[in-house]
């Protein structure tokens, strides 16, 4: 009896993951080339930037906030990277006066700029007390406008080979993109589990008033969380641009919803105070495996969107179920 109850609990807690694993097995059995190294690499390359964005958003979600500017921030970061890293001999350079910059320097500059946008989000939310939903929705539109302005709505390409290698290169069998994601994953795990900042973050998400009374610097923590999120969008945008070999104002559109959904699937509670880096990775993987499976099965992208929507609803319902059980 107890065993069956445990099984029921495991199944209900991991319903989506079980469904996606079954779907992957079905896809692997009915199609060719699904369980191949190439497809696995493709999965890893797609998951890496999304995981980095989800890590950035997770901090906001854990503190009962959100960040709707994530997708557009990724787009702006990709465009800024493109402007700095176009080949010197490319005829349609956006900034002809721009000298040859090594890609790490460009990455640091982009991270610093996007960190400032994150900082503005953090200040608006924690100091001006604007609800995160509204503050980041405004920032989303502002960033999109800025991106359109600086790029003149022109798509950009003609990147330096060294920049393209960031996405296409690999260290042995491991793609560089995966290395970036692994480093970020370890960093976030350490930050969330082993630092004071992480403890403060969970405390704010659990009960903000209690955290403040207990001496937590709520303002400072929130600003740091949003700055870090901005830096993560910058890194993701840099990688997305390198992966695509080009960038435009449309880059990163809708990524924020994917990231929020992946976090929810991965157990980051919409009610705040709960969330693990491992769960976030699982959430991103579930979303990406679902997409790849449906692509392999030749399913119309319209059905993929419906399936993704249903997965999000199930994830939130399961999160609500856990909350009700605790209550």
């Amino acid at each position: 009896m107890e065993k069956s109850l445990n099984m029921k609990k495991i199944v209900s807690n991991n319903a989506i993951i079980i469904l996606i694993v079954l779907l992957a097995i079905l896809t692997g059995c009915t199609t060719q080339n699904f369980f191949t190294v190439t497809n696995f690499k493709n999965l890893v390359v797609n998951v890496s930037p999304r995981f980095i964005i989800a890590c950035g958003v997770s901090g906001c979600l854990i503190t009962k906030g959100t960040d709707l500017s994530a997708g557009r921030a990724v787009g702006l970061a990709a465009c800024l990277s493109a402007m700095m890293l176009q080949s010197l001999d490319y005829s349609a350079r956006m900034l002809p006066w721009m000298p040859d910059i090594p890609w790490p320097v460009a990455l640091i500059v982009v991270m610093a700029i996007m960190g400032c946008f994150g900082g503005v989000n953090g200040v608006v939310i924690s100091v001006l007390k604007v609800p995160p939903f509204i503050a980041t929705l405004g920032m989303q539109t502002i960033i999109y406008g800025l991106c359109s302005l600086i790029t003149n709505n022109q798509p950009m390409g003609g990147y330096k080979p060294s920049y393209l290698t960031v996405a296409s290169g690999s260290l042995g069998p491991i793609p560089y993109l995966m290395l970036f994601a692994v480093v970020i994953g370890i960093y976030f795990w350490f930050l969330y589990n082993k630092t004071r900042h992480g403890k403060y973050m969970y405390a704010i998400g659990g009960n903000e008033n209690a955290a403040q009374v207990a001496g937590v610097n709520v303002r400072g923590s929130l600003i740091r969380i949003y700055i870090l999120a901005g830096c993560m969008y910058a890194l993701a945008g840099f990688l997305v641009g390198a992966k695509a070999g080009g960038a435009s104002t449309a880059t990163g559109n809708g990524y924020e919803l994917e990231a929020i959904a992946a976090c929810t699937i991965g157990g980051v509670s919409a009610n705040g105070g709960v969330g693990k880096v491992g769960g976030i990775l699982i959430g991103v993987l579930v979303f990406e495996i679902l997409k790849i499976c449906l692509q392999f099965l030749g399913v119309d992208p319209a059905y993929t969107y419906i399936a993704q929507g249903l997965v999000i609803v199930i994830a939130v319902a399961l999160d609500l179920r856990k909350y009700l059980q605790k209550k």
Partner: protein, 77 residues
């Protein structure tokens, strides 16, 4: 009798100071969120009805995938 009255007055004073501090800490130190107390705002839901809803969504998900696969294989012409 006087002592009792004094005690009562003290109790009333203590209560009023307590509610005052609660009121101060009760203020949100930072901006609210779209998700703030999202689950508390929902009407009373039983776990059983939520399970039914989840089951319904899972069935819908399976149906969408099956329908999409069948359509991709031109089963519906």
């Amino acid at each position: 009798m006087d002592k009792e009255q004094e005690n009562r007055e003290l109790e009333v004073k203590e209560e009023s100071t307590q509610t005052g501090t609660e009121g101060e800490t009760g203020k949100r130190p930072s901006g609210g969120s779209a998700f703030e107390g999202i689950y508390d705002m929902l009407p009373d839901i039983s776990i059983r009805s939520l399970d039914r809803f989840i089951l319904l969504c899972v069935i819908a998900l399976v149906l969408v995938i099956v329908f999409g696969v069948l359509k991709a294989n031109h089963v519906f012409g």
